[in-house]
C-alpha cells in the first residue's frame, strides 16, 4: 500500500516519461490504442514496434499505448517524442509507414514530413478520401 508521500515520489519518478516537451530524456512512441485507433489498424503498428524495440537495440525507446485525442478520422495517430525536439504527430499510419519513421526519424533523426499533418487554408490535406489509386 502506498502513502500520500509515495504519490509524490511516483509522480517525480514518472515525470520524465510523460513529458511532452523537448526536455524529456528518453524517446517515446505513443500510438493511439483507443477503439478508433485499433479499428484503423494500430495494433499492427504496436506489434511492429514491440518486435523492433525488444531490448536488443542500443537505443532506449518507450513503446506505449495512448488514448483518444478526438481526431479519430486521422487514425492511427502516432506521437514521436525525441529528447531535444518538439513532439511530432504522424497521421494515418500503417506498418510500412511506421517502418520508415523508425529508420529515418527515430534512428536517423530526420522527421518524415509527409506523414505529418498538411494543412492548406485550415483544411487538412491528409484527410482526403482516395477515389482510386
Amino acid at each position: 500500500m502506498i502513502t500520500i508521500e509515495d504519490l509524490d515520489i511516483i509522480a517525480q519518478k514518472t515525470k520524465d516519461r510523460i513529458d511532452q516537451s523537448p526536455a524529456r530524456t528518453v524517446i517515446r512512441i505513443a500510438t493511439c490504442m483507443a477503439t478508433g485507433g485499433i479499428a484503423a489498424g494500430s495494433q499492427a503498428i504496436m506489434d511492429l514496434m514491440h518486435t523492433r524495440f525488444d531490448g536488443s537495440t542500443d537505443v532506449e525507446v518507450q513503446v506505449v499505448k495512448k488514448g483518444c485525442v478526438g481526431m479519430c478520422r486521422l487514425d492511427p495517430l502516432v506521437d514521436v517524442l525525441v529528447p531535444g525536439n518538439e513532439k511530432v504527430t504522424y497521421v494515418k499510419m500503417d506498418k510500412e509507414r511506421m517502418q520508415r519513421v523508425i529508420e529515418e526519424h527515430i534512428l536517423g533523426g530526420q522527421v518524415v514530413a509527409e506523414y505529418t499533418l498538411h494543412v492548406a487554408n485550415d483544411h487538412l490535406l491528409n484527410d482526403y478520401t482516395v477515389l482510386e489509386a
Binding site: I18, G70, M71, H118, V119, L125, D127
Partner: protein, 599 residues
C-alpha cells in the same frame, strides 16, 4: 513493391461544386507520368473533396507538400517536366501565399481543431498511457483524492461540489453536488456509488473515449464521491459492447487495489472503498437510473417510477448516487484547482466544459471539449471545420434520440442546458449530428423513432404503443401516403407521449418529431400535399427520368438496371418505366452523361 518516393494527390472536384474544373487532370497526369517513365516511382492518388473548391483542380506533390491550384492541361505537363523530372517546383503555378496558405504541422495540437478547445474531462486523453497507473499519478492523479481524504470533511467535499456548479453530463443536467448531498443525508450504513457508462445515444462516444483513455480519473472521482456520501462500494455499469473500455477498467481497478488506492485503508487514511464492474447488454433504457439499478440487481432493465429517487432508495433499496462518466472525469480537477476555478469557466447557469461528439455531414468528425456558452456555430464551423463538399448547413441534432433539431437561424445560440431546451432540443450526452442540405428531416425523425421504438422497454403503454404509432405515421408520410390530419396526429400524439410516459426515454422520444415539425413544417407539407421529398431522400417519392436531350443512347443504364425498367434503342434516348423502377439509383450512377435526373 519498391518504396515510392513521391506521391501526387489530385483533386479534380468531381464530386463537389467546382463546376469549372477540368475533370481530366488525373488521366492527363497518369499519361504524363508514364511518358516520362515515372509511373513506377510515383504514387498517383485521386482524392475526393479537399474542401478547397475555389482552388480546384488541385495537385499536391509530396513529400514537399506543394499545392498547385487551378491546374490546367498544359500545367500538368509543366509540373511533371519541371518539378518531377528536373526537381524544381513550378513557382508560377503555386497559389500565392495570401490566397492559399499551405503548411506542415508536426504537432497536432496547433491546428484549429484543438486551439479553441478547453480540456477538463478529456485532459489526459491521448496524453498518457491508460494502462499505466504511474503515468496517471504523474499528471497529479489521485492527488485530489489524497487532498479530499486528508484535509476535507464529507460536508466540505459536498459544499465544494455545489460551489463548482457542475451539472450531470449524461443528459439530465442535475447539479452533482445536490445529488451527493441527498445521498449523504440518508441515515444508512450501506450506500452505493455508481458510474453510469451505459452510453447509448447513437453518435455519442465521449464516455467510451474517457474510459479507454483515462480510466483512473473515473476511479478517483468515484472514490471521492464515496467518501462524500459515506459509501464503501462502487459499481461501474458499462456496456459489454465496449470491450476495450472494460479491459482497461479491469486493469485500472487491479492496479489501484495493488497500490491501496482502492480497498480497506486508502492511502493509510482508514477510508475503505472498492469498485466492481457490472456489464450491461447495451439496452438504451439502462442509461435511465432506475432501469440501470434493476439491471445491476440482475432484473430486467426497466425503469421504476420516481420518487423514491435513487439517492433515497436505489440499488438494493440503499441510498445510491449515479454519476455519468464525463461528470466523474471532470471532478478531480475541481478539487485540485478549486471550485472557483471551475465555476469561472462557462456561463451563469451552466458551468465548466462539455464534450461533444461531432458526426454526420461535418469535416472534422471527432470529440471536442469546449466551455459552456460556446455557440453552436463556433463548434460546427470553427472547430468542426464546417460542412464537406461545399454543401449548405441545414440542421444540427443535439441530444441524440431524446433531443431535437436546431436550424441555421439559432446557430449563434450559446450552448447551455437551458438554452437548448428552449429551442426544443437538449444537451443530452453531447452527441451532435450535423446535417447538410441533402438531408430529409422527415426521414431523420423516422430514423430516431425507429431507434426509440426498438429501445422502448415496454413497461408503460404511452411509450410502448405511442412510439410505434408515431413511427407508423412517419413511414406513411415518407411513402407519400400521409394526409394533413396525420401532421396534427403526430403533434398530439407526441405531446401526450411526453406527459404520460414513465421515464426519460418516453418523455423525450417524440422530441425529434416535434422539433422537426416545428422547424421544417414545410418539408412535411411537401411530402403530404405535393407527394414530394425536397431533399430527394424518401425513395417512394423520388422519380428517375432520363433527359432525352442529354441521353446519347449508349444503353449502359438499361444494361445495369436490375429490374429491366429501362428501354430504348441504341443511339436514341432511353426511357424509364416509373412503375417498374425500384429507385435504386444505379442508372444515375452509371450514366456517363449525367442524363438521369431525379425529381
Amino acid at each position: 513493391m519498391a518504396t515510392q518516393q513521391r506521391q501526387i494527390v489530385v483533386s479534380d472536384g468531381i464530386d463537389c461544386h467546382a463546376k469549372h474544373a477540368d475533370k481530366n487532370i488525373v488521366k492527363m497526369m497518369r499519361r504524363a507520368l508514364t511518358k516520362n517513365n515515372l509511373a513506377d516511382q510515383i504514387e498517383l492518388v485521386r482524392a475526393g473533396c479537399l474542401s478547397l473548391c475555389e482552388f480546384e483542380p488541385v495537385v499536391i506533390v509530396y513529400p514537399e507538400g506543394i499545392v498547385y491550384s487551378h491546374v490546367t492541361a498544359s500545367d500538368v505537363e509543366a509540373i511533371v517536366k519541371e518539378h518531377l523530372v528536373a526537381g524544381t517546383p513550378v513557382e508560377r503555378l503555386i497559389a500565392p501565399e495570401n490566397e492559399l496558405r499551405s503548411e506542415r504541422i508536426p504537432a497536432i495540437d496547433n491546428i484549429p481543431f484543438f486551439k479553441d478547445q478547453v480540456r477538463i474531462a478529456l485532459r489526459n486523453c491521448g496524453m498518457i498511457d491508460p494502462e499505466n497507473i504511474d503515468e496517471y499519478i504523474a499528471v497529479q492523479g489521485y492527488k485530489a483524492l489524497a487532498k479530499v481524504l486528508t484535509t476535507m470533511t464529507p460536508d466540505q467535499v459536498i459544499d465544494e461540489m455545489k460551489k463548482s456548479g457542475l451539472r450531470g453530463r449524461g443528459g439530465g443536467g442535475f447539479p452533482t453536488g445536490n445529488k451527493w448531498e441527498f445521498a449523504a443525508k440518508q441515515d444508512n450504513t450501506v450506500k452505493y456509488m455508481i458510474c453510469n457508462g451505459d452510453e447509448g445515444d447513437p453518435g455519442a462516444f465521449m464516455d467510451r473515449s474517457v474510459l479507454e483513455s483515462d480510466p483512473h480519473s473515473v476511479l478517483e472521482a468515484m472514490t471521492i464521491g464515496g467518501y462524500a456520501i459515506g459509501s464503501h462500494q462502487g459499481f461501474i455499469y458499462v456496456r459489454a459492447e465496449y470491450p476495450v473500455a472494460v479491459e482497461r477498467l479491469q486493469l485500472a481497478i487491479e492496479q489501484a487495489r495493488t497500490y491501496g488506492l482502492l480497498g480497506d485503508n486508502i492511502l493509510g487514511t482508514g477510508f475503505a472503498f472498492d469498485i466492481d464492474i457490472r456489464l450491461g447488454a447495451g439496452a438504451f433504457v439502462c442509461g435511465e437510473e432506475t432501469a440501470l439499478i434493476n439491471s445491476i440487481e440482475g432484473k430486467r432493465g426497466m425503469p421504476n417510477p420516481k420518487p423514491p429517487f435513487p439517492a433515497v432508495s436505489g440499488l438494493w433499496g440503499k441510498p445510491t448516487v449515479i454519476n455519468n462518466v464525463e461528470t466523474l472525469a471532470s471532478i478531480p480537477p475541481i478539487f485540485l484547482r478549486g471550485a472557483d476555478w471551475f465555476s469561472s469557466i462557462g456561463t451563469e447557469r451552466s458551468k465548466g466544459t462539455k464534450v461533444f461528439a461531432l458526426g454526420g455531414n461535418i469535416n472534422h468528425t471527432g470529440l471536442v471539449e469546449v466551455p459552456m456558452g460556446t455557440t453552436l456555430r463556433q463548434v460546427i464551423f470553427d472547430i468542426g471545420g464546417g460542412i464537406p463538399k461545399g454543401k449548405k448547413f441545414k440542421a444540427v441534432q443535439t441530444g441524440g434520440p431524446s433531443g431535437g433539431c436546431i436550424t441555421e437561424e439559432f446557430l449563434d445560440t450559446p450552448i447551455e442546458y437551458d438554452t437548448l431546451i428552449k429551442l426544443g432540443s437538449m444537451m443530452g450526452s453531447g452527441g451532435m449530428i450535423i446535417m447538410d442540405e441533402d438531408t430529409c428531416m422527415v426521414d431523420v425523425a423516422r430514423f430516431y423513432l425507429d431507434f426509440t421504438k426498438d429501445e422502448s422497454c415496454g413497461k408503460c403503454s404511452p411509450c410502448r404503443i405511442g412510439t410505434v404509432r408515431l413511427l407508423e405515421i412517419l413511414e406513411k408520410i415518407t411513402m407519400g401516403k400521409g394526409t394533413m390530419d396525420d401532421l396534427d396526429a403526430l403533434r398530439n400524439l407526441g405531446e401526450q407521449i411526453k406527459v404520460a410516459s414513465l421515464c426519460g426515454l418516453g418523455q423525450t422520444a417524440p422530441n425529434p418529431v416535434l422539433s422537426t415539425l416545428n422547424y421544417f413544417y414545410d418539408e412535411y407539407v411537401a411530402h403530404v400535399v405535393e407527394k414530394r421529398c425536397p431533399a430527394g431522400v424518401c425513395k417512394s417519392l423520388v422519380h428517375y427520368e432520363i433527359d432525352a436531350q442529354a441521353c446519347k443512347g449508349c444503353g449502359v443504364c438499361a444494361k445495369n438496371c436490375p429490374v429491366e425498367a429501362i428501354t430504348g434503342e441504341i443511339k436514341s434516348a432511353h426511357l424509364i418505366d416509373d412503375d417498374l423502377c425500384i429507385r435504386c439509383g444505379t442508372c444515375a450512377d452509371v450514366c456517363n452523361f449525367d442524363a438521369v435526373a431525379t425529381h
